[in-house]
Amino acid sequence: MEEIIISTLQRTMVAGTPLLLATTGEIICERSGILNLGVEGVMALGAVTAFIVTMTTGSPWLGVLSALAAGMVISIIHAFTSVTLQANQVVSGLALTMLGLGLAGMVGKPYVGKPLTIKMDDITIPVLSDIPYIGKVLFSQSPFFFMAIGLALVSWFFLQRTRLGIQIRSTGENPKATETQGVNVFLIRYMSVIIGGGFSALAGAHLSISYSKSWIEGMTAGRGWIAIALTIFALWNPGRAIWAAFLFGGIFVAQYLMQPLGISPNFLAMLPYIATLLILVLISLKDPRKLNAPAMLAAPYKRGER
């Protein structure tokens, strides 16, 4: 029994890591008022880039950096269409998803089925990892886990406490007023979209070089979409995203643990989505304003218009 609990918690952390990375990125992006539905595609592109670079150079960290760069570069497309051209952000985001998935499949074709022998060692923090139960779960994990937690905490501090973070948030609430304060709204939005894309690509890198250690088309398996739902679930707060991501990771892992109890596997597979709907309904019933959504989310900003 003890082993089942520890293993389940450990798996929860692993399963929640890519969700946390992508959700944090999407929160920064949406806080600036840009809805990015391209997370899934950027994640796939990050996964394939990280895999190819790690395999050819032998350095996983170089793979991570290239994935980050690839995710940022491809996100410029979304920033360009939604900020500069003021096009429909839903359409542009969906296009980015399809583009990313297609591109990743095409580029990655020769690498399908090749095992990655270069491994990223788990980071084990001395002393802390010897604490019974929690030690193994929290302090002996892949570098991506610590990266995800670190980035989420930094992002929280950044958005809440720093000047630039407040500029991002006010851009999402009221771009016109922000611009009158002398802030370059276009620049802020470009930056947020690009940072968000980089985070999504990191999530993809985790999948291909740490979680699976292989590249297969379709390996992101809808995680990008869950991250978008989690952004709402976390009420656009990176601190809350930590709980949300690991809660969802836990639900994902628990499905298989609960199968022997005779509950239909189909029903268990629906759990993460039911949880999202439930939370949204509960929050909306209480007070829709508490949703805390950026007021100008998905609304294009045209400079100089009334």
């Binding site: 089925g113 979680y211 292989s214 390996m219 892992v253 199968q259 239909s264 597979a269």
Partner: protein
């Protein structure tokens, strides 16, 4: 500028006409179209079919092939039409169970073309069926699993509760029983043919529940990666590769596995078509025909790392007396290569998990029984989900 564009357009049209003309001039050739349900890079089902297609194309210089990958089952009518009308295919292979009815309908639409449907049971004058099954290899894997397990809990990660998978699970369980009557099989369903993340979590939870040996029916090497990573951390997990050579994903974990070679089958079918000997009779290939092969890679039926352990594990059997697990696997494999009438895993007495006698002593399950099997044998835990 516009003139130039127009000129280029006309020029390319003329060129297109020429190439089409040149193409039509050769008439002795056969063009075969393949429709896959997944991406050819899935490292499982569609990948194996594509290897078979390539082998057939290399074998015959009169053969030309085209393929369409990731075809949704609801979209197959359109793809079949395209292969026949645009690509001018003479024969179309549809390689998923869900393509069955569209293939039969296409046979009516194009009575002068041939169709081969994989894994189905409906045939017509110009529609034949073919299938290669791996249940015998699962039985052999089961013998090894039963001999190697230390916890007597053996895991199985399964895609969908359909007869093909129940047949695999049961054959695996019967093999385990032959080597180790104490061991039980635990099954987890992931409801996906292609779900690396789901398979990974299912495997992790089986290991957490105490299973030290895992087999699976699913199209990714995820289960093997899980076994390999636990083995590297000092907890030996034995795994069995499925469909493609997945041993490179877990050299310390993969004991053996099942490989499918569609090449021989495609070569035979296409040769029959070329020589005019084709009939719509079901082609059902097993170990005897060389379609089902034992192993986790192309060279070793059993990973050399585990050969010694298997040679030391002694098993009391009715057929051969006291014998090592290694020898038992090899003897049974030889018998299977001779044919199902020499040895078949589904030979009675076989009881289901509710205690009912399903196959009487001395009898052998028929092909039809196997194709519709929907019960767990008595050393599989739990029930088949509805």
């Amino acid at each position: 500028m516009k003139k130039w564009t127009l000129f280029m357009l006309i020029f390319s049209l003329v060129l297109l006409g020429f190439s089409a003309g040149a193409f039509g001039a050769e008439d002795k050739k056969i063009k075969a179209g393949f429709i896959y349900v997944g991406p050819v890079g899935d490292y499982g089902w569609s990948h194996a079919h594509d290897l078979g297609r390539k082998q057939a194309e290399e074998t015959f210089d009169w053969l030309e092939t085209v393929y369409v990958e990731s075809v949704a089952e609801s979209d197959s009518d359109r793809i079949i039409d395209r292969l026949i009308q645009q690509q001018k295919c003479d024969v179309v292979f549809t390689t998923s169970f869900g393509f069955m009815d569209p293939t039969i309908k296409a046979g009516k639409r194009y009575p002068d073309k041939l169709f081969m449907h994989c894994s189905g049971f409906k045939r017509s004058d110009n529609v034949g069926t073919y299938f290669g099954d791996l249940y015998q290899m699962y039985y052999l894997n089961g013998i090894m699993a039963g001999a190697l397990t230390k916890t007597n809990k053996i895991g199985y990660v399964a895609a969908f509760p359909i007869p093909e998978l129940i047949r695999h699970i049961d054959a695996y369980a019967l093999g385990i029983k032959a080597a180790n009557p104490e061991a039980k099989v635990h099954v987890k369903w992931i409801y996906a043919w292609y779900g690396p993340d789901k398979a990974r979590e299912a495997a992790e939870s089986l290991i957490a529940e105490g299973c030290d040996t895992l087999a699976f029916t699913e199209d990714t090497p995820a289960v093997i990666e899980v076994g390999q990573s636990h083995t590297e951390k000092g907890k030996q997990i034995y795994t069995f590769s499925h469909y493609s050579a997945m041993q490179p994903y877990g050299e310390d974990s993969v004991v053996s596995g099942q490989l499918m070679d569609w090449g021989g089958m495609y070569v035979k079918i296409l040769d029959d078509i070329h020589t005019g000997n084709w009939t719509n009779e079901d082609v059902w290939w097993l170990a005897k025909e060389g379609a089902a092969i034992l192993g986790g890679n192309e060279t070793d039926p059993i990973n050399p790392k585990f050969v010694d352990d298997l040679k030391q594990a002694m098993i009391q059997t009715e057929a051969f007396g006291k014998i090592s697990a290694y020898d038992l696997v090899m003897k049974r494999y030889d018998q299977m290569k001779q044919g199902v009438d020499v040895f078949d895993p589904f030979t009675g007495p076989v009881y289901d998990s509710k205690g009912t006698l399903q196959i009487k002593a001395g009898e052998r399950a028929s092909k039809d029984d196997l194709l519709s099997i929907m019960y767990y044998v008595d050393n599989v835990e739990g029930t088949i989900p509805q």
